[in-house]
Structure formats: C-alpha cells, structure tokens
C-alpha cells in the first residue's frame, strides 16, 4: 500500500492539484497535518465536501509520536495532507523515512510553497541563499543564530527568506500549576515583530563586530514583508526594517525577505511594492547579471 504525501498549496481547498484530488478521493484514510486547520487557510468541512470522505486531523505531536498507529498503515492507502508542499517549508522527511523503513511505498504530490511564492515579490528565486527561521524572542531567550546566515547570504549578494515563528498548542503553565491541561492561544509572528527582532539582534551583536567594519549589515538592506501569500488577500510591502517594524500586515501567515543585490528587473517590480515615503534608495547603475 502507498503513503501519498499530498501538498495542498497555499490558498484554499481548490489549490490541490487535479492529480492530488483524484488520489485523495481514492484513499482509504485521509489525514490532515494540523497546522492547516489551525491556520484556517483550508476549512476541514470544505475539504471533506470536496473529497467526499471524512478527514482525521493530526497535530504535530501526533505526527511525531503516533505516526505508526495512525499514518503508517500497511493495509491501507493513506493520504497525508500538508499545506504548501510536503517537503518544502514544513519538511516531513522524517515521516518519509519511517514509512520506507516499514516497507511502505511513498509518493509525493508536490505543490506550491512559500519558498516558491516568495518569487511574487519580483525577487529571483535563483538569487536566494539559505533560508532562516526567526523564533519569538522571550525575556530571557533571544537567540541570534540566524544573523550570521543572513550576513553570509548578503555578502554573497543573495536574498534571505525568513520564515517566522508559529506557536501552536503551547502548554499554559499557569493552568498546569492548577492541575489543568490547557493550551495558550496560537501565536504567529508578524512582519513587524520579525523586523523589530532583527533590529534588536543587530544591537545585541554589534559589540562583537569591531573587526568587521566593512561588513554589509542587513540593517540597511531593502526588506520585503509577505502576508498570506497565494491567498486572495495576499500583501507584499517593501521598505527598510525600521519601516516594516511599523506596519501591520494583518492576519497570518507572514514571512520576510532581506534583499541582497537587486538587479534591474527585480528593482522594477520591487518599486511597485515600496512603502510610500520610504527612505530606501535603490542603488543607481544596476546591471542585470
């Protein structure tokens, strides 16, 4: 039997491919990775209506600890649905490996992901370097391991896609102390928060940079905020980090791009997204690579 890992794309239930839809309709069991339903991008009821069968919702914990019982079944064709692409931003390589170890054939049905949709900013995907994740800063925990990665990309002229933290099913410690199992409401990092954290990170790291006076710092780079990519309310705004830190881009999901060298064609598109009155000055004499 086969485990089909099916990407749902970024928008609503109709962003599945025709092939993916046919597969899901023929499977014995349909499992939806829970980020999906939490995000409300796709509606479980609408999916069930489109597929003509019930859906089991599995949160990340279930996928990681109960995969053997729920997803990896030797006697059933199972469709495992993931928002975006099953192997892109939210990688399910681990599940793929465990299925193979159990002798279950795995088929991937690819789809659009945020890593591809970032191209809607006008920035060429060819020029993106490594992707970083930006975690929520806490009072006593402000990790900045993404900074050297961004800097390395920048020094090589490359753009950086920053995927922003999602906190889902975080235990509520106050409730726990009263003996209750409760969860905090989900939190999704906004472009404004990410921009503010990037500014903070730079200040935290600045004293270490005495020997790197010539280093390009991301604080002066053009940045692009992305919100709800692939959805009808998609929004793209370009500006400096300081400018993006002041802008409310609305409901999740958000991502942020820090631009490296921008070429003529990229500039032409980015200008359309530049925040009004931006202090950012495009370099003159750009030359196409």
């Amino acid at each position: 039997m086969v485990l089909y890992m099916v990407g749902l794309g970024l928008g609503d239930e109709n962003d599945i491919t025709v092939k993916g839809l046919k597969i899901v309709q023929q499977c014995d069991l349909v499992v939806l990775e829970a980020y999906t339903s939490v995000l409300g991008i796709v509606d479980k009821e609408k999916l069930e209506a489109l597929y003509g069968k019930p859906i089991v919702v599995a949160d990340r914990d279930t996928v990681e600890t109960q995969a053997d019982e729920i997803i990896l079944q030797n006697d059933k064709n199972v469709a495992f649905l993931v928002v975006g692409d099953p192997l892109c931003a939210t990688t399910h390589t681990d599940l793929w490996l465990r299925a193979r170890q159990k002798g279950i054939q795995v088929e991937i049905v690819h789809n659009a992901s945020i890593m591809g949709a970032a191209a809607s900013s006008g920035l060429s995907l060819y020029n993106f370097g490594q992707t970083v994740s930006i975690p929520f800063f806490e009072d006593n925990w402000k990790p900045t391991s993404f900074v050297p990665k961004i800097e390395y990309n920048l020094q090589g002229g490359m753009h950086t896609l920053c995927l922003l933290d999602i906190k889902v099913k975080e235990p509520d410690f106050k409730a726990m102390m009263k003996g209750k199992t409760e969860y905090l409401p989900p939190r999704f990092m906004s472009v404004a928060t990410a921009a503010q954290q990037l500014i903070t990170s730079q200040q935290l790291l600045l004293p270490d940079n005495n020997n790197n006076n010539n280093k390009t710092h991301y604080g002066t780079a053009l940045c692009v905020g992305l919100a709800r990519m692939g959805q009808p309310t998609q929004q793209i705004i370009a500006g400096t980090l300081e400018e993006l830190a002041q802008i409310d881009m609305g409901t999740p999901l958000h991502s942020l791009i820090i631009c490296g060298d921008v070429h003529d064609l990229e500039v032409e598109v980015l200008k359309e997204f530049l925040v009004e009155g931006s202090k950012y000055q495009f370099p003159t004499n750009n030359s196409e690579q």
Copy 2:
C-alpha cells in the same frame, strides 16, 4: 481584464491545480509557453481535451517579441500556461511587468517547480544557496561563471541546485547558408554532461587557485542527479561527479545538486539514492543543525 499566469506543475495535464483548471476553463484565450510542448511533458491535445478549448502555443521568441499582440490583451481574460511555476525556474517577471504597464491585472496561480521538487532528494530546501545555470560548453566557449557561486555556497555549507541548459529552436547555420530557415533538433543537457563539464571547469580554473589551498572544492562533494522530477519515471541518483559523469539517467529534463554540509536526516535519505559501489564516504559524526 486579467492575465492569469498559471503554473502547470511538473508531471502531466493533471498537475494543474483545481483552481488553475477552473480559471483556464473560463478564460477567453489560452496560451501555452512552448518549452512545455517541446518537452512533451504535457500533451497539447490532452490539455485541450481537459480544458474544453483550443490552445495557442507560443515559443520563447513569441513571448518576448509579440507579447503585446498575443498575450497582453485589454479586452480578454488570458491564461498563460507555464510548466512548473510561472515565477520560479522559468521566470516570467518581464511579462508580469509589461502587463502591469498596460494596466492589465495579473494573477499568479502558483504550482510545484523543480526548485521545490529538489527536496525529494532528501536535502533540506532551507540549506540551498543560490541557484546556478550550466550552459552547454562549445569548442571555443566554456564559461565557468557558475563555479565561484557554487564555491561560495559550499564554503557556507549550502547546497547548490544546477539547472541544466536547454537548446530549443537553435538556428541551423548550415541550412541558413543555403538560404533555408531550419532549426537544429532540441538539446537537453544530461546529468552526465553537466558532471563532465563541472570536472572540466575545475581543471580550467585550477591554476588560478594557488592562493586558495584551503578552499573547499566541489570536486569532492556529494552530488545528486535528478531526472524527470514529478513524473512517474522520476529518478534520483547520488554519487561523486566522476560517478555521475558515467551514468545515463535517460530522457530529459535533468538537474544536478552539489551538496554542501549534509545533516543526519539528509544523510539517511541520500543513502537510499547512493549509486552502488560509490566511492563517496559520508562524514561521520554528523550533527543535526
């Protein structure tokens, strides 16, 4: 009116999204970017049957020089179909810009592209650096501008996706001299040719590297050949460049990945794709980032 730029995905006519299909069925004009038909991935007749309407095939030349007459129409809803994603590997940013300048609204329907499907190798898309294109070497023209980009990625621990040359509608100069307009048969670079060219490039550049003895060179990196990604006959083979240079991976399209630092989970998947008897030794004591 709207110009819909619709990604077809990587496989056959059923890799379009449900949303994309609905849009195409409602458009007044459907234009197919010609790479598609040349590649034979999607069959024009099958597409026409699925859409219930005729398709105009436009080669790259037509898209670039006759877009105004054919694609950018103010009084029609036009669907412009692109294999993969409209903005990923084959970027149509220029068309997007020209449409906007004519006051035509543009909607992108994203889909899977080779840049996402590369994740099927087990390599994390997070760890990919800039993408390079490898052109066919000619007797008197062996450009190696992709080498420093690969090296920069490697030194930062990043993987490199190499997109391989496609020669379509190349004029036949011999026929031209006889006054005929004829085209050479299309050529698609194989993984073996790309691997051989990379080995050649290293030899060409070696004398310049006297001061860079400590540089990581891609010649010793693990490489991954990709063929027909997203299609039923998809093939993935890992090995050294020397090994891949000897392997025939069959019909197009091919791509090649040069691996940077590989992490535990990546190694687990890559081992399944390693060519039998490979000389490549995975580093011991990998640690997950």
